[in-house]
Symmetry: C2
Subunit: 338 residues, 2 copies
């Protein structure tokens, strides 16, 4: 068997993390000064700017298939996903750059439509587009379009939120229903009617500003590839704690649940593109939930808490009593989900 | 005829510039504060950091075909090209992020080889890798690999070099032979023996540090897609000046010239990946050439000067006397050249 890259290496689950660690392990310069980088593998890297500010920088390549889907398109996703990677660090997005690669023969009206969605997100969130790149690959060498988006933001030291910040006793909060984006993409790829599904693709800046204002946010992550399950695993691993989840409390739309049951996939492994998982001080948990409800995020809820059992463990309360181990997502999950 | 994206839109010539201007014309937030961005379309965008420093940020997607070529590979190119986009702004590179998309089935040993080249450039130039992304596209939806590289650097206000900085009387300098990279890629794509050709792919940091130390550098650009010709046109256009070139003085390797003649392409439109075009004060021009020679860049030479004829014009001294207009590059040139 040849040693080749498989779809599972790009799933955002455990194989992706292992591959990234393997190919970067011999790099010595892994961060700038007292910033963060390859060791932390947070949603953005942080570069100290002197004084009390850090620069947050992130890049993602968006390959979603189909490029137009209920609730968004690759343009909206490429702007939103990158802005969210800044927001969950506690950063204020400042500027975006985008490198676009399209296939020869790609319709100009589709490019315009995708870019209109991209620009609309930037406009509504007040983020500047300051540069980029545009390449064309000959017909047959790329399926439609790939957009790589760079996000640059500023975060004050006191507002920096890392995956490693969870504390024993913290409550785990999700800001809305789980798996909507993943379900719509998966169903579409399998040719299933998705008229009752819609991606949750949405910027998280307003939510993050509000919860930072309240305070007591110890960790935050947008559960994209690998879904809620991978986000919880990364937070538990980096914070050296155990997360105990009450699965019955996880908000999942009936349509998403039905779709997952039909297709035999775990909704907890499906990407969200407009949700955040927070680890918050138990004293502010109810205030945060109340605030999110007031902002219209009526499905925001506490789904679990942080315990001191074993570093990196994610457990779920079993319906028949006791606790079961939730393994991190493995395998292909959904190709080209984002 | 359907309105679709053509290879020429990605050539780095006049069609690329027109398309980028068209798709970004309705964007209001085009820079951060008193920085630079979509209006300048320089090799990096600049974000003011307060005080005397600017942040330089750039992104490029590398799609070169073949991925391994004499003188380099897509990994070396992806690190070098981005570092050079920082260097020609006068910036010191600080950190790199890379978003890699590979095709399912891509050999792991090729990925390792590409990344080893990428990391070797970072190591030798002292630049940190602080983050990135890794995605996999199903077999048949991407030809091998695309690497999008983000560069972040710092530049002091007094060292900022813009394409718009040319002054009448400046000398135009190139640091070495022209078109080496483009010729090797083009020949390879056409199945021609390239054993006597080699890409010029190389970081420009040392050169840029030295010429900034000397002073009098008014404009700098690495002539990648669109080649020397497009770089001269962009500088002339943005600086509202005319550049007059003495074609006989442009250093072109005999092998590159022969290859271009055989294939009917203009070496001035072929990409370089380790050369810089400088506009320098005439008083320092000879000192800069001398320094470049001392550093081993023995082909560095003055190829022309800046005149006040008509904004945006590039002229060449004709061999039979008089001046001829050099039009900017148009058409496909070489697909997937970088």
């Amino acid at each position: 068997m040849e040693d080749v890259i498989k779809l599972s290496h790009g799933s955002g689950g455990i194989e992706t993390l292992q591959l990234i660690k393997e190919i970067t392990k011999d790099i010595k310069l892994r961060k700038v000064g007292r910033g963060t980088g390859l060791d932390e593998l947070d949603d953005s890297a942080l570069i100290p700017l002197g004084g009390e500010n850090f620069l947050a920088v992130t890049v993602d390549s968006y390959t979603v298939n189909p490029i137009f889907f209920p609730g968004g398109d690759i343009g909206k996703l490429a702007a939103t996903g990158t802005i969210n990677d800044l927001a969950v660090m506690g950063a204020e997005p400042l500027a975006i750059l985008d490198a676009i690669v399209v296939e020869e023969g790609f319709p100009k009206r589709d490019l315009q439509r995708v870019l209109d969605s991209f620009k609309e997100v930037l406009r509504s969130e007040g983020v500047a587009l300051i540069g980029g790149d545009f390449k064309v690959m000959p017909k047959g060498s790329l399926d439609k379009i790939v957009i790589s988006t760079v996000g640059v933001g500023i975060v004050r030291r006191e507002n920096v939120i890392l995956d490693s910040g969870l504390k024993v006793g913290d409550k785990i909060v999700v800001s809305g229903t789980i798996g909507d984006h993943g379900a719509v993409i998966l169903a579409f790829q399998l040719g299933i009617d998705v008229s009752n599904l819609k991606s949750d693709c949405e910027p998280l800046i307003r939510i993050m500003r509000r919860v930072i204002e309240i305070g007591g946010v110890h960790a935050a992550k947008d559960p994209t590839r690998g879904g809620l399950l991978m986000a919880l695993h990364e937070m538990a691993e980096k914070s050296h704690v155990t997360i105990v989840i009450d699965e019955a409390k996880i908000p999942i739309r009936e349509e998403v649940r039905a779709c997952c049951e039909m297709l035999g996939v775990d909704p907890l492994s499906l990407a969200c593109e407009g949700r955040v998982v927070l680890g918050v001080d138990s004293e502010v948990a109810n205030e945060i939930i109340g605030s999110l409800h007031d902002m219209g995020y009526k499905d925001a809820t506490i789904i679990g808490e942080v315990k001191e059992v074993e570093p990196g463990l994610v457990l779920a309360k079993s319906l028949v009593g006791g606790l079961k181990i939730l393994e991190p997502p493995i395998g292909e999950i959904v190709p080209r989900i984002c």
